[in-house]
Symmetry: D4
Subunit: 163 residues, 8 copies
Amino acid sequence: MSAQTTEVSVLMGSQSDWKVMKRAISVLEELGIKTEAKIISAHRKPARLHSYITEAEEKGVKVFIAGAGMAAHLPGVISSLTTRPVLGVPLNATLDGMDSLLAIVQMPGGIPVGTLGIGGAGAKNAGLLAAAILATGNDALCGRIKAWRKAQAEALHEDPLED
Amino acid sequence: MSAQTTEVSVLMGSQSDWKVMKRAISVLEELGIKTEAKIISAHRKPARLHSYITEAEEKGVKVFIAGAGMAAHLPGVISSLTTRPVLGVPLNATLDGMDSLLAIVQMPGGIPVGTLGIGGAGAKNAGLLAAAILATGNDALCGRIKAWRKAQAEALHEDPLED
Amino acid sequence: MSAQTTEVSVLMGSQSDWKVMKRAISVLEELGIKTEAKIISAHRKPARLHSYITEAEEKGVKVFIAGAGMAAHLPGVISSLTTRPVLGVPLNATLDGMDSLLAIVQMPGGIPVGTLGIGGAGAKNAGLLAAAILATGNDALCGRIKAWRKAQAEALHEDPLED
Amino acid sequence: MSAQTTEVSVLMGSQSDWKVMKRAISVLEELGIKTEAKIISAHRKPARLHSYITEAEEKGVKVFIAGAGMAAHLPGVISSLTTRPVLGVPLNATLDGMDSLLAIVQMPGGIPVGTLGIGGAGAKNAGLLAAAILATGNDALCGRIKAWRKAQAEALHEDPLED
Amino acid sequence: MSAQTTEVSVLMGSQSDWKVMKRAISVLEELGIKTEAKIISAHRKPARLHSYITEAEEKGVKVFIAGAGMAAHLPGVISSLTTRPVLGVPLNATLDGMDSLLAIVQMPGGIPVGTLGIGGAGAKNAGLLAAAILATGNDALCGRIKAWRKAQAEALHEDPLED
Amino acid sequence: MSAQTTEVSVLMGSQSDWKVMKRAISVLEELGIKTEAKIISAHRKPARLHSYITEAEEKGVKVFIAGAGMAAHLPGVISSLTTRPVLGVPLNATLDGMDSLLAIVQMPGGIPVGTLGIGGAGAKNAGLLAAAILATGNDALCGRIKAWRKAQAEALHEDPLED
Amino acid sequence: MSAQTTEVSVLMGSQSDWKVMKRAISVLEELGIKTEAKIISAHRKPARLHSYITEAEEKGVKVFIAGAGMAAHLPGVISSLTTRPVLGVPLNATLDGMDSLLAIVQMPGGIPVGTLGIGGAGAKNAGLLAAAILATGNDALCGRIKAWRKAQAEALHEDPLED
Amino acid sequence: MSAQTTEVSVLMGSQSDWKVMKRAISVLEELGIKTEAKIISAHRKPARLHSYITEAEEKGVKVFIAGAGMAAHLPGVISSLTTRPVLGVPLNATLDGMDSLLAIVQMPGGIPVGTLGIGGAGAKNAGLLAAAILATGNDALCGRIKAWRKAQAEALHEDPLED
């Protein structure tokens, strides 16, 4: 897979989701994976979502990440349109994000969505998991992930600092 | 509107939802409204759902009722495909139906779903509300609903009976 | 139905609900539907609520929207007083609005309330759903709703903007 | 107050609530308090509920107990119709009774409902609390309650028995 | 009962509860009922709580109101020490007050606590309910409560004001 | 500490709790620790609970385990009466045990209860944790716990068996 | 990758989890993917879990699936030991599986677990998602997944059958 | 046990947990118990956590306190690595700390964690409970705890102060 191919697509339903979802992009770019981000609402533009997923698959996207809040249907609708892995990030718009978590994770048998945690930590982990998925067929990427994880661990100090 | 036109469509994602959702049909038929019921999964047959909604609108359906469990996307997806009123019935497959309730009711601004209660009482009320919607333009139906409600009240006895 | 008739009544229990509930009015006015808003507490003025609902029906109101928080009885009480469609909007006064959602949506069989989401998105959707209900008998209104939905979709941009 | 006067009224919305609510009656009768039980749905018979409360007050009822499930409005509606103490018992019809609990206890300021626990223990305690309320002006009843409580405590054995 | 007797005692576990619980005192004083407020923690001063309840009953207290947060044991412990009516007010210290609500309302059969809503509305209603309890044996107080309720209703305006 | 001294007391509020709480006794006996079990309701016998805790401490009890359901006050009340470690086991009587968990674990600062999981697993773990507490001053017991844990691990088979 | 290599490992903490987790194995085998299942408790055998993960990676396992109930740590602990994709399945042992869902999905940033739904539907979807992950580098497998999905959709009938 | 030995270890997963967890240290120091605090993430540094627990036990640590948020695995992982008492403090990072509470308290049978309340009150109580555990074999410490509790009670004033 050449560096020029976009391998991960990060989708969300509205501009307001971007400040959280860009954390997925950041970690993917740190790991050298080309991504694209799009705002396409499952509810407001269902036909456009359908055409986008088809186009994205055709141009080489292998993993989809979708962030959504409230009655969060975007990840599940994407999963109904593709057999590629779909990762869902519940966003906290109301009810501390519990509505969104349940609306993403409780998919019926046959249409999977791999769900990450609510909000920023979940978005970051969606990026990492997408990288790990691509690394199942890419040893160099696997090495970069291991290095990233090692650096993350080494950055921690054992002794608490006063605030 | 002649009696031959199907005015309400009742949709659900799987055969197992039928035993609850048929309570919506029952009350609609009691009130003399022609309905049809279909099992079309939003996740497993997204394209078929799209074509069905278009066909249904063309043949005169004016209200859609959709029952769904778990990450219940069916009512919201239908609302994204039509401007007709969509009523949602959360079904209890897991978590006492709380996942389904939140996945149906918490729709983002712009794509409404009128949500009824969890399970059988909700299905019955979806039928009644669909009838009330049609009655906004049909005085004869309005009279039948008033009679139904009156009969319902009169069937109650004030003195408790030992079991 | 002439433009002068008030077709939708938006009710709430206290002045503090107005800042959310006026979003229902806004969307109804954008769609050319005449509405009126009233503050009538189900608990503090039960007899006045009863007389208002009767008067409103007589002067042509076809859909009632009611917003309420906490042990939110207003939509259910209205539904017990009329056979017209009643739409409920749970307001977040405590417990993130979960108390209000359950107190509105879990109506017993026979007395339906079509419930929208918690807070502002729900109020806006209540307005849209009321319009969709009136449009089942009004093709011109149906066209205005379709145009509104199309404009809403077209206002979205696919590429995220930095904050 | 003579023994012939009915001092407590126990209300519920449907026959199916009786098997729980009769526990309130039992404890009131054990304490020598005259009660009556009625099934009057707040939603299905709002006008009858209004007239009943007025009649009951006139014939001497001093405390109202109301059991209700789901979007449980009965206790709150009664409290809006009387200034007598109203005690609410949440019944478990769905969601383990959590919907009912919140719909009863979260009353707005100005219209109180004293809420007991969900189900049978709550019904029994509603009877006891109604008795305690009447005993604030009745020393003989106060003595009977103390005796009841003492007997209850003495019936307990400290050493567990194998099942 | 002379005006000099303290008829209601309002208890709480810490000074920080006072800003909410004083709303109970306010309404009781408006209705001409003599009260006293005390901070006595069920957990930190169990023996003092026991002696206080005995003393309070002896000097004529007829209703106890207790506000508590978190694992809110104060109302239940008071109910175990007296047969007088005990009203509980859940305070929101954590978890939106849901922990406190459940720890107060879910009392086992035999030891009742009449529970009001979470926070300020609940405290106000506890005062009103205590007054209603005393009014079961005091017609003059009953009249003052009716006047209070009427004034409350009349203070409401039906037309929303812009903020 | 001689084998004759009772070192752990296991308390519960009613006979119905015994079938779960005896799992705490079982594990303590397996580890050679002398225990006693008592049914003493915090709400029905507050004075007896007080005297029992004092007696138990005097005869050498070093750890208290208390199981309780619903508005579960027993562990917290015991902690208010002793400075010895108190372990709480939430029992599932209603609401899946969530009411009991919150009523036990959310103790205010200053009065600790070490809380275990809901039901049988929690009761077993309360026994194990009580043993671990005693083992901080008893190396022989520490060795027995290590052996128990090792045997537990060795009893597991890695390959699933068909049912 | 030859057919002889085990590419997916399905782990669980106890034999009782097998009846649910074998649904993941079933779908993987239908899709021609070699798997192995192991019962290794994160809590009872932490060192063995560590050695197993290392061995499994060395012999070619590319995706880990872990099912766990209650305070479900297994998926997160595995993710801390490998950079391969880890999929978590919450099992319903208590609290309807809500405890397990939160203990799996709410991982801190840096250690991802892709979480599926609670129970059997989640286990099946974990198998499907693991297959989709492997298919990002295997076009033949991708074709088999598409065929599986198509067959799934075609098995649905649109007309409800009476029970 | 000499005063120089560290008897309690307080662990947490990140620097941000320190502002809450230091409340455990404060109370332990007030009671004259030597402690140490370390930041060691169960997920980011699993091997280091393992080696630290072994070292700590060898140098005399008798009780472990662990604070963690979200999918809070730290206390349970520590309990899997030692037979010493482990106390868990749920921290509120998301969902009001409910995710963390369930991920800590709902441990499977055989691996106990004594769980305290969410946040600061829980951290303080973890310190107190650790002291009570050590006091089962240390009468002087037991006396200091009794004095601390007495001082805590005496600091309370019974009469509320205006804010």
